[in-house]
């Protein structure tokens, strides 16, 4: 297998620098709204000063006094992301949209059409640059893990190829934390076992890893050896959704439950509309809360009958909110339905339910024609529109995936 991983460089910031020539070559940081204070993406010029994603405005400004803040516009990024994916699909039918600015492409056997892997990568970069003016880093390797590692090795505008025969030499002294999926906490746990490099991980007894980390233990050892067999899942062939959810970062941290409820209604409607569009119903509704200090937790409630009705989702989400004693102001809220029952065209038994289902269908139909939230629930109009915020890079442009807005 030959896997190509493409990662757009400083994506949101680079798009803004294309839009506004006055921002090119300057340190800029994209933020979600004028009230939001967290950096979503920093340009390379800003990164040189130490400005990073997730930093708050003041911290960032301290690192880089000449930093320019730009309020992001999701529509630009979504459209650009879709255009880039379409370019990739010209090279292979197997394109997995991993996030808004990253994709995996299976280029096994494409050499007859496009030449060797480096030629494919060169052409992809050229097409993306022609169409959007943007650069990307590309990594090519025998599997997704190594392709991702390769694209991370040279930024911006990189092209790195890892060949089978170079793998063990490359990984031997590489810190485990550099591997995709091994985060700071896992790194810390491993270092407790005196495992710091991939070479050490590869040589570590599988039995100890299994005992310590459960089923992922063996997988970790294989990762240390650069072995990774997870396939590329082309757009449209993702597994049936196990949950449908939406979350949003609030324009500012909010402690007032009544205000939070308005966001819950909007999110419930987004979840309801999306699950109805895909004919999905869930038996569980969960509410995710993140405090200002990033502490995040989820509580859920079950239902007798699976639902995709906005009002039912909303009422469960508010029940959960009512049962929580908030210890501080909330930064993010999310609503998800899970325990999905497929094929839910079951006829409602009672006339009242049937009426509701017809109403809900009519609302969805109108919204599909005139834009989301054209027709919606009255409480949403009590105040000004909460606004979309800036989506996280984990957002995917297609399919019924769980959408997480960080």
């Amino acid at each position: 297998m030959i896997v190509l991983h493409m990662d757009m460089n400083a994506f949101f910031a680079s798009v803004e620098q294309r839009c506004n020539p006055a921002l090119r070559g300057k340190p800029i940081a994209v933020i979600g709204s004028s009230k939001r204070t967290v950096v979503t993406t920093a340009s390379y010029e800003a990164r040189k000063f130490g400005v990073k994603t997730g930093m708050n405005k003041w911290e960032a400004k301290k690192k880089c006094p000449s930093l320019i803040f730009v309020i992001g516009d999701n529509r630009k990024y979504i459209d650009t992301s879709v255009r880039v994916l379409n370019i990739l699909k010209d090279f292979s039918p197997k394109v997995e949209a991993y996030s808004i600015d990253e994709a995996f492409v299976d280029i096994t056997g494409t050499d007859l059409l496009f030449g060797p892997p480096e030629e494919v990568a060169r052409r992809i970069k050229e097409r993306i640059r022609e169409d959007t003016g943007l650069t990307c880093s590309i990594g090519i390797a025998p599997n997704k893990l190594l392709a991702k590692l390769a694209s991370d090795m040279k930024k911006p505008d990189g092209l790195v190829i890892i060949r089978e025969e170079d793998v063990s030499k490359l990984l031997n002294d590489l810190p485990v934390g550099e591997l995709w999926g091994i985060g700071p906490r896992l790194t810390e746990h491993l270092s407790g076992l005196n495992v710091r490099t991939c070479g050490q991980l590869a040589a570590f007894p599988a039995s100890v890893l299994r005992e310590r980390f459960g089923i992922i233990g063996e997988r970790l050892k294989l990762m240390g050896q650069g072995i990774y067999d997870s396939p590329i899942v082309p757009i449209g062939e993702e597994e049936a959704a196990k949950s449908v959810g939406h979350s949003t970062t609030l324009p500012k941290d909010i402690a007032d439950k009544e205000v939070l409820k308005r966001y819950l209604l909007k999110l419930s409607e987004m979840v309801g509309a999306r699950s109805r569009a895909h004919g999905l119903k869930g038996r569980k509704v969960s509410l995710t809360i993140r405090y200002g200090d990033f502490f995040t937790f989820t509580r859920q409630k079950g239902l007798e009958q699976p639902t995709n009705d906005t009002r039912v989702i909303y009422s469960l989400a508010t029940d959960i909110l009512g049962s929580i004693r908030l210890r501080s102001a909330v930064r993010l809220v999310g609503v998800t339905i899970s325990d999905i029952a497929g094929g839910c065209r079951q006829l409602p038994l009672f006339e009242g339910e049937r009426k509701r289902e017809r109403l809900v269908n009519a609302v969805d139909l109108v919204n599909r024609h005139f834009g989301d939230f054209t027709l919606t629930w009255a409480a949403l109009f009590e105040d000004d529109d909460p606004g979309p915020g800036v989506i996280s890079p984990a957002w995917r442009p297609e399919g019924v995936k769980r959408v997480n807005v960080r």
Binding site: V15, C19, N20, P21, I78, N367, T374
Partner: protein, 79 residues
């Protein structure tokens, strides 16, 4: 955009393998489009909205074209 306007404007554009605004008239003044710095589309219901970030050499403007309603709008300006 630092100033949000959303005002109707008159536009001269070339429709040939895509749309390219050439100049626009806003409040009685004509602004030449010297550069289209970025273009993207969005959807509002069934309507496809084309967005253009354009420069007249002095300032940056975002103008949109609603391809169903056939209407141009000046969304905002950045001095």
């Amino acid at each position: 955009m630092s100033t949000v306007l959303k005002e109707p404007i008159k536009v001269i554009a070339v429709f040939d393998n895509g749309v390219k605004p050439v100049k626009f008239k806003w409040k009685g003044r004509v602004y030449p489009v010297k550069e289209i710095t970025y273009a993207w589309t969005s959807k509002e219901g069934d309507s496809r909205i084309m967005h253009f970030s354009v420069s007249d050499g002095a300032a940056l403007y975002e103008i949109t074209y609603d391809s169903s309603a056939l209407k141009w709008s000046l969304e905002g300006v950045q001095a």
